[in-house]
């Protein structure tokens, strides 16, 4: 089952309120996305922990409804 960009963005922002989220539909098939997430909450966390915050915001949908979400996280510079 696929998810649309607006729904992914909504969930991430709900979980990480200050997040700046940019999502691309990589193949235009509604199933393969790339997300760039910037948030001050990532400060001091390693990449694994940063990605885990995003996965937590997605409430278990990553790996199920959402098959492919290439993730890149960063702290506002």
């Amino acid at each position: 089952m696929a998810m649309d960009i607006a729904e992914i963005e909504r969930l991430i922002k709900e979980g990480i309120p200050d997040a700046k989220v940019e999502i691309q539909d990589l193949r235009g098939d509604g199933d393969h996305y790339a997300a760039f997430v910037t948030s001050a909450e990532f400060e001091g966390l390693n990449r694994v922990k940063q990605h885990q915050l995003v996965y937590a915001a997605l409430q278990g949908k990553m790996g199920t409804d959402l098959h492919a979400l290439a993730l890149q996280t960063s702290v506002p510079g």
């Binding site: 990449r47 990605h51 990553m62 790996g63």
Partner: protein, 115 residues
């Protein structure tokens, strides 16, 4: 089938080998693009690694997600420590952090042919 609890099996996999990739398929025949991309990054980094095919074992496939608090496969462990999935491994390879981290942990790297 294996009677050993899945967490113990995961622990012995990640402790018995310096570098181990939980993946779909095997390095010669990856069964998923993300596993393939991760194998490629590791190969380019010149690291020898062991692999576990989660498609052979449904319990392990779910167990490793819980064990690592990570929702997707592949997953890379180095010296018993979770490093990340496909995106992180690829990003670390591209910035050179992967090679640096492996060397710091005393894992031997082979020079890649184009170096």
């Amino acid at each position: 089938m294996n009677d050993q609890p899945v967490n113990e099996r995961i622990e012995s996999e990640i402790n018995d080998q310096d570098v181990v990739l939980f993946m779909k398929g095997n390095p010669m025949f990856p069964q998923c693009g993300f596993s393939a991309a991760t194998v490629q990054a590791l190969s380019m980094a010149g690291v020898k690694f062991g692999s576990v095919d989660v498609l052979q074992d449904a319990e392990l496939r779910e167990g490793i997600k819980e064990f690592s608090s990570w929702p997707t496969i592949p997953q890379l462990y180095v010296k018993g420590e979770f490093v990340g999935g496909c995106d992180i491994v690829r990003e670390m390879y591209e910035t050179g952090e992967l090679q640096e981290m492996l060397r710091e942990k005393g894992v031997e790297l082979q020079e890649s042919p184009d170096e």
